[in-house]
């Protein structure tokens, strides 16, 4: 059985992203005949050439205006691996879209046009990948055919990417020279660049280690709900949730937070299946040796591995609403299975995406701004930092007047 890699692709139509996606899907034989037929039909009716962007641009407005509105999710499978691809448009709303796509990604593919090299969009994309801690970044240096497959040009770009990646703390940012239009180095290695000794894009992605999950760290089990068995035969209560970090074992001594009450894990189960151990991202029921007071949003941790329980949070936000974030604003904060009231005490600074330097934020944060804030929460949150664990250090902010999700947050 293959494993699953979640991928985010970032770039604009001008970088040839739609062509690359079309290539990826076409050359891995994911596009069915009726889908291709449909694209041919629509392209022909508009009197243009075959437009592979029509495969991904599904909404009426997108087709009418020739733009991509939102993150699109699609699946493809190779012999080695199953992929879920979040396609993030590069133009409008790029920050909000890329943050969304990157939040679940194991790897991000950033597109560069070989003729222009590292441009400000590349800097922004890499900065966001770094901020969201996407475990792997792959830079697809596209349109190599337009620079005559020049090794010198490619080496220049690699050097520029390296400097940028080092500055942002991105350890893994491989560069692959390719031509999406011609299909060179996408699925199969191209003869056009004998000097390039690395793998083509798809084989590279097939080999990436899946190391985004922390199975050795402290156990974090947010309780989503309490299951009360139907009838006497069902046994005691189950605590239902997903292991977000670490590896839980039967016999582990655990503590429920925030109450601090202790118990021992008697069983871990998925329906009728009994597990001795369960690692990150697995949804299970946990049975404890005694019934203690636990509610939705509480956190089960192993004794001795308790996280800090915080009432004040330092965090990086990506602001996603048309209405500015101002100090003093009250919002709802959802982290794991816990939702609590929060107030933004201070907007410390904003990240300038051109210089990649923090700057003052006297007007708060605007749509698509990234910035550092200090928050206070009504109910203390047992939380890790985002750097320690993506799954337990992330939150969203919700405006309870509109019910909109207005920010992505990462605990510092």
């Amino acid at each position: 059985m293959s494993d699953l890699l979640r991928l985010a692709t970032c770039g604009s139509v001008d970088d040839g992203k739609s062509t690359l996606l079309g290539r990826l899907l076409h050359d891995t034989r994911q596009i069915a005949d009726d889908q291709l037929e449909h694209v041919r039909d629509v392209s022909a009716r508009r009197g243009g050439e075959l437009d592979l962007a029509l495969l991904t641009d599904g909404l009426r407005a997108e087709r009418e205006q020739g733009i991509t509105i939102d993150v699109a999710y699609r699946s493809f499978v190779t012999e080695r691996r199953r992929f879920i691809l979040a396609d993030c448009p590069g133009h409008e709303q790029y920050t909000r879209n890329m943050v969304t796509g990157a939040s679940t990604a194991d790897a991000a593919v950033l597109l560069i046009d070989a003729r222009y090299g590292v441009v400000s969009q590349t800097r922004r994309h890499l900065a966001i990948a770094a901020l969201l801690r996407v475990p792997h970044v792959v830079v697809a240096v596209n349109k190599m055919d337009l620079v005559a497959w020049s090794q010198e040009r490619f080496d220049e770009i690699v050097a520029d990417v390296r400097v940028l990646a080092d500055g942002l703390g991105v350890a893994d940012a491989a560069c692959i020279p390719l031509s999406a239009l011609e299909g060179d180095n996408v699925v199969t290695k191209s003869a056009a660049a004998p000097w390039y000794t690395g793998p083509a894009l798809v084989p590279y992605l097939e080999e990436l280690p899946l190391d985004g999950l922390d199975d050795t760290g402290p156990v974090r089990f947010p309780v989503q709900l309490i299951i009360r068995p139907d009838g006497e035969a069902g046994g005691g209560r189950r605590y239902a949730g997903r292991i977000e970090r670490g590896t839980l074992r039967t016999g582990d001594a655990v503590v429920a937070l925030p109450s601090g009450r202790e118990a021992v894990v008697e069983a871990i189960e998925i329906l009728d299946e009994q597990l001795e151990v369960a690692g990150p991202s697995l949804s299970v029921n946990v049975v404890l040796d005694r019934e203690i007071d636990i509610a939705r949003g509480d956190l089960l941790v192993r004794r001795g591995e308790e996280p800090n329980v915080r009432r004040e949070l330092e965090a990086t936000l990506c602001w996603m609403s048309d209405r500015h974030l101002k100090p003093g604003q009250r919002l709802l904060l959802k982290a794991g299975a816990r939702t609590t009231r929060a107030v933004v005490d201070e907007v410390r600074e904003r990240l300038d995406l051109e210089s990649l330097q923090p700057v003052a934020a006297p007007d708060g944060l605007a749509l698509n701004d990234l910035g550092r804030v200090r928050l206070r929460v009504a109910d203390a949150v047992p939380a890790d930092t985002y750097a320690e664990c993506r799954a337990t250090g992330a939150f969203v902010l919700i405006d309870d007047a509109t019910n909109d999700t207005v920010a992505a947050g990462m605990i510092a």
Partner: protein
């Protein structure tokens, strides 16, 4: 790699299953009156299995509902009733015929008529009647272009409509389940699954499916390149002569808009092999309702269709 893995790498099916269970539990915890839409089709059969894994040994925290056009395959409605009884969960059947009898909608007639579109009114009426605030559905992003952009927790307005341009951003696995009175959510736990994932899961879990998913001899006739069941419900046009051949259904919807495919795949293993080598999507091959226009699905979803 972060050292030696303590737990075996999850397979893609395990990862998809775990995600879907997490989604169902989030919804059940955050909404008071959800309902699971169950058509007797393979995707909603998978949803029921996932609900067992999410909520047993407790009861499901929601009833199960079928919107019945009255033109469904009898094999499927029989399966539906049997499965709900086996699970011991409450089944609500919202009937399009009742909506017609009550004068809520006018029935459609003629050889090319289908009650498929009429389902929307019955569904929205049932949501209002039972005051449901969320519907769990088996839609998948790989089915259709507009679905690729839909959130897992997708908001519907007072009229049941979907506005693709003002969707809430969905980050990490932190779902926003908030609704105002009159609004409701459509929640899609198997958004990220493909048709093949569904079949492999059916095989792995040993799930029973309605018999029409497997090859059987059936009297059919051909229209627009699709094979329709020869049944009194569908009026044939001149020249549409029925013939008997070995077919199976890839999707299960209303009889008037769901086509069969020629197939000899008699077991799940045969079907998995057939789908793995298929060059045509399931909706493209068997759903007349999606062929109406370039954005047929998007338009129907804006009006509240599932």
């Amino acid at each position: 790699m972060s050292g030696a893995a303590l737990t075996p790498q999850l397979s893609s099916l395990d990862a998809l299953e775990s995600e879907a269970i997490h989604i169902m539990r989030e919804l059940a915890a955050e909404r008071e009156r959800p309902v699971l839409l169950f058509s007797g089709g393979k995707d909603s059969i998978v949803l029921l299995r996932l609900a067992e894994k999410a909520f047993r040994p407790g009861r499901f925290p929601f009833p199960v509902m079928h919107v019945d056009t009255g033109h469904n395959f009898p094999e499927v409605t029989a399966y539906r009733d049997r499965r709900a009884a086996e699970l011991g969960e409450r089944l609500i059947v919202a009937s399009v015929q009742d909506s017609i009898d009550a004068g809520r909608i006018a029935d459609v007639h003629g050889p090319r008529s289908s009650r498929n579109q009429l389902q929307t009114v019955t569904l929205l009426d049932a949501i209002a009647e039972h005051r449901f605030d969320a519907c769990i559905g088996g839609a998948r992003r790989d089915e259709e272009r507009s679905r690729a952009k839909e959130r897992i927790f997708s908001l519907r307005d007072d009229f049941g409509g979907w506005d693709p341009r003002s969707q809430r951003p969905e980050l990490w696995d932190l779902y926003n389940a908030r609704v105002r009175p009159g609004e409701h959510l459509r929640v899609f736990p198997i958004s990220n699954w493909t048709e093949l994932d569904v079949w492999q899961y059916v095989e792995r879990e040993g799930l029973e499916l309605p018999s029409i998913y497997f090859a059987h001899e059936r009297s059919v006739f051909e229209r627009d390149g699709m094979l329709y069941a020869d049944d009194p419900i569908i009026e044939r046009l001149p020249g549409e002569e029925p013939f008997t051949t070995s077919v199976r259904y890839r999707t299960v919807g209303d009889m008037t808009c769901t086509g069969a495919v020629r197939s000899t795949a008699a077991t799940i293993t045969d079907v998995v092999a057939e789908i793995a080598s298929s060059r045509i999507t399931e909706r493209g091959e068997t759903r007349a309702d999606d062929r109406a226009s370039e954005a047929a699905m998007e338009d129907r979803k804006r009006e509240g269709y599932f």
